[in-house]
Symmetry: D3
Subunit: 279 residues, 6 copies
């Protein structure tokens, strides 16, 4: 169950409203690197968490999911503040200016047309966020890697937004969000480290009996160069494997299968007659 | 530039065709955990790779991208083989049987209706793969974590498919694909380890000057419980941070911002009159 | 800012797990009539709310948004409970049974394959929810009608789910959710009634100067029958208009414009030569 | 069955072509507030209409669906007229001008690249309309509220477009469309009023036996504030409910359920070993 | 402008309702091979048609677009008739039967849950139609090929549906739709033949000065075999080209470009430090 | 199985980087007319190919699929080169310039924000490519028409991009791609011609017994004008049909079906009470 107190988690100030930046901020709201994604991802991971020892992780996920909802709120507030004073008429003074005129210049119509100068749950190109990006596999290590990925792309995005703007208020807000992304990357990796203390977590899932996988191909780096040239070597091509369960080798791949013959076409699927056997 | 020799990377056999399994296999083709995703992701990461030392990683990505194309091919071949003999009429014998009749029972219409009994680039529910799932951030560590995630969810999916079927041919193919997922998880993590040898890679991106992020909130686990109860403690709440750059602490979060007052509504956005200041 | 206490808003019990019902419940989670939609819609409406009198409505929306998050949680819990004991192998006993075997019969693969027997943010056909369904126009009456619609379709869905199942636990949970949909329909309509007490709210937006709209066509029901037959008459074709600002009339529509001549094709758009003027 | 006479429902004139406005108009064609949506929504509602008294409503819906098809036609014509004379080369004179250069300035590439200077079935950001926005629930009151919502957001959009442009031709066309939105809002509400004359229509659906819903929670406004502060009061918190069937009250919500324990993880779903009971 | 007379273009009868077939028919409504697609495609092609001689083609397109709207209507009517008598409760008699029980067996929930037993604008897997499938390029020959493709896939789909069912009513309706697809394939190809009478239409677009394309590679079939083996020969590898403007040849492709060096990474994009030049 | 040699198929040069053109090029990568589409379409057609004579066509498709992968690579390389030197700060010199400033002016944020100045698998408006555009029907003639369409729209797009830019390097690359589109249009049509040599290929599918389709409507052009005016005549309205199997005629369409009565509403679907028979 969830609660609110209507307050912002961290202050949001804009010194000089910039409608173009209002558009860029959308990526941190409704982009695949954004805050809707992590909020919903942590919730669905929590609700799908299983096993006798997983209550602590469930609570951990619900705590941070709640935090991320507050980050969407901060960013939506920042968007509205950046839209203040934007020209609303194609002929209005400033509309022809590339920096100021991003609303009327055709680059940011929807924050005006669809929302009346407010944030939308879309990315910086106006593409709505879709929930296929919620990774919640039921495997805790798999989920944690998905979360490290999400926080890494999220922090990269936030640093690029920080670089774009010189507004002191926006930079203060982004410095807070970047710090939280630092913590969250550490936090999810800490879960893996805690689990690693008991037994190796790789390869994910570690509960599949590894002797059932093909033993000739599980630690070999395969090359797919057309001229059989040696593929690039490195940490991945020799020495013990990262999971400590094998030894890296390297080889060019040769096809082990044949050219698959096209199966017969059945009349009821209505191919062209040339495809039917009896022709 | 890419080449083909028409051959299968690994043999694909089906002993007892099963149209329901043909549908399940779609998840490994067009699902977000599937092979189209990794093939295209590694390509776009390669094409977006930057920096003087990154040629080796670019080649590494293109090699494995080529391999993944061959995995789509293997799975598409497996789908077609599992569809052999499927009933094509609602009244046909077997159509009413839950196991055999998955085509005509209404659960797998599109492999017949749209493709004439072949694989589609969709997931097990028929949702087409969309390219928003290609993560290629231009940051090599961020990309590697995305790849570890993709291979971890991919291997989890493949083990579940392995569990579903008792067909010896299908299990042999899946044992190969599971082994490759083991290698690829190790491989992408090996890139991070190689980079770690020079300097810490976390937090991603490690080129952002970390002193610019908010120093009060970058290593503290925040609790968001409504009653102020202590959030769950663990590796993430005390001790040195995972990236070695800070010390974990824990505290309940209090709002640092105020309730944001609704901004004035501008007449040109056409709100209800009650929202206008002058009313 | 948001908080949680990890508890369920209302108890969730399942007496007889039913994997087919687990699939049907997805519609109430990730369908366009579902709970993700209302939770996010009320949040974005709150964050886009403008005008000096709108603080109360902002808080109202944030309160109910928090409630709806708890409803997703209840439904996700119900899905997991309904999946208990589902067969995971195509040959497993029960898999061939139409009612029990919905996982292995091919109708509900993804709750197993992608989530390890848990809820997904998708609808009953596996289509992920996308955020284009969040209606937040910046116009309070427009938003309230969108909310009445959402709660009406939500309650209709919940009654159909109630009808489908005979499980006492599921019916108890649904009876609670149906009651809340009753309240929420009333609640959003109460906002309109409160606003109506001051001045008419229709047509939305009521701040546009209505004398600027075409006065010949704003209260006439137009017929588009090919034979000029009288269109159906009713409350909409005579008497005072619902908004009290006009008088309904009815007439068959005649085109007021001409056949638009195709504009010239410009060479730089590369049409076929037959489309170019000079040919 | 449908017919055409190739003519425009209302004249479409553009005095000064403006490619940026051509892009903005897309929202009224392929946006969720646009004309494709209402045309298809009214058709699917008509085709799904059931019950002995519903023929009149079916005809009403098909009439207005036909009208809306003509509105898409008007808007597509307006887009083509606004694109006349747009620069097609990045270096062409005018391309660098923010107002004129919206095609070559990068903000409106697709009307040129994909359609050769014509309208597309996409919104102002180029996102294609998708049919999940067609609300046709089989419940007539639910459908009418969806239609009021659609016409309300449609009219709000049209007034914002009217505000954006000073072109007399475009304003004349929009004044017509705004008038029709006024009528259609009234029209769909008139259907509800006609039905209300016989019996209350709320809560939707009104055929569900209301005694089956939870009687403790169907007319109470619940607060979800983290500090238990009183939620905002208003028309929704006291007095008779809007549907006349209950009395509004207000209370802070306390969780009625417990913290749900994570269910056991089954081996066949391949979680991490730490999640398995036997560990 | 469009009109209706509420009548069906062709009679729709169902002798034995079959809810599974109701699901299959969705592919012909909202699938990419379906009738929404052609109706909207022909309209947008008409509205984007340009050039002095194109009025006839514009009218032709609008005529057939009107026809296709009537086909959606026929199919939606057929869906509703096939849903009559479907069980609505999971325990209802027949629900466990694979053929009858497609609603309650979990394969066709949404026609009940979302539409109250009616058609939806989605495909046979429940994926909503999206308007990115409307091909209207502004080039008449390009559009005609898109139409031949649409009618070819549409007819293939209709023949497969015909094969699936033994219901005499459904077969009568489908025999009509298949006939219309025959005509429409011929019709669009007739437009190309009419244009060919004046000058060659290939390659599309034929108004681009063909001497500007690379003359070494415009009529050569290139092989991309990894071992340099000769690619398959046929009509495409020797003899005059189909457009009559060249001579087919065949050769294995050798890369003409080099390995592209990764460009430098800019600090403001925040890559990992290893990617930065100065490291 | 697929291979790579890391080299570009054809050299890619940019003389004057242009970030706006980098955005336009996205349409050729991730647009529906683009290279991802053809690469994946030819692969899925190959993997779905059936029938004893189809091996040659399967190889042909795999060859050209490999080529198209190399075209994506060329275009992604071109995007990165066009982004060199783009301003990354809203206040940076050049950012306010409409031509140079397309990144910071708000029109092309995502190539910077999401990819660090590289190509994305999206179209020129940022909409991700989705795999529903892969047409692979299992019918070889149907597939070939889909391919001619894809190459025709692809070539039209490439000529428009050629027209947009004056950069000699970009024009050289596009001249190569345009030439390949010429060949591929010819190539797929050559397959049809080869098949036609044996027997007529139209209407698709030609294996459906044509006597089963409705013989009264398979070669008649139907008019749907509201006033019964004669529809436009041409090659499609008289003379032998294009497929040589019938004779074209023309007639205005009269409805052959009646107004379909709304079916009864069932209580379990919870319509409004007014829709129920017993009321």
């Amino acid at each position: 169950m969830f609660y609110t107190d209507y307050k912002l988690q961290y202050p949001v100030r804009v010194e000089t409203p910039d409608p173009a930046f209002a558009r860029a901020l959308q990526q941190a709201i409704g982009g695949v690197e954004g805050e809707i994604r992590v909020a919903m991802q942590y919730m669905f991971q929590a609700w799908g968490m299983k096993g006798p020892k997983s209550s602590r992780y469930r609570d951990l996920l619900l705590n941070t999911a709640s935090e991320e909802l507050g980050h969407i709120e901060m960013l939506a507030t920042a968007v509205a503040l950046n839209l203040e004073g934007a020209p609303l008429e194609l002929q209005e003074e400033g509309a022809a200016d590339a920096a100021v005129g991003s609303i009327m210049g055709g680059r940011n119509f929807r924050q005006f047309l669809s929302a009346g100068l407010a944030a939308l749950p879309v990315d910086a190109d106006g593409v709505p966020f879709d929930m296929s990006h919620i990774y919640a596999s039921g495997n805790i290590a798999g989920d944690m890697y998905a979360n490290i990925t999400a926080e890494g792309t999220g922090r990269t995005l936030a640093t690029r937004l920080y670089h774009m703007t010189a507004d002191a208020g926006m930079r203060d807000m982004l410095a807070y969000l970047i710090a939280r992304d630092t913590m969250h990357q550490n936090q999810w990796k800490a879960v893996i480290e805690e689990l690693e203390a008991e037994r190796p977590q790789m390869p994910v899932p570690n509960s599949f009996p590894q002797e059932s996988e093909n033993q000739d191909f599980n630690y070999v780096f395969l090359g797919f160069t057309s001229d059989g040239a040696e593929p690039p070597s490195g940490r991945w091509s020799e020495g013990p494997s990262i999971d400590g369960k094998g030894e890296f080798t390297m080889q060019p791949m040769e096809p082990l299968g044949e050219v698959p013959p096209p199966p017969p076409a059945r009349p009821g699927t209505y191919p062209q007659t040339a495809q039917l056997a009896e022709e």
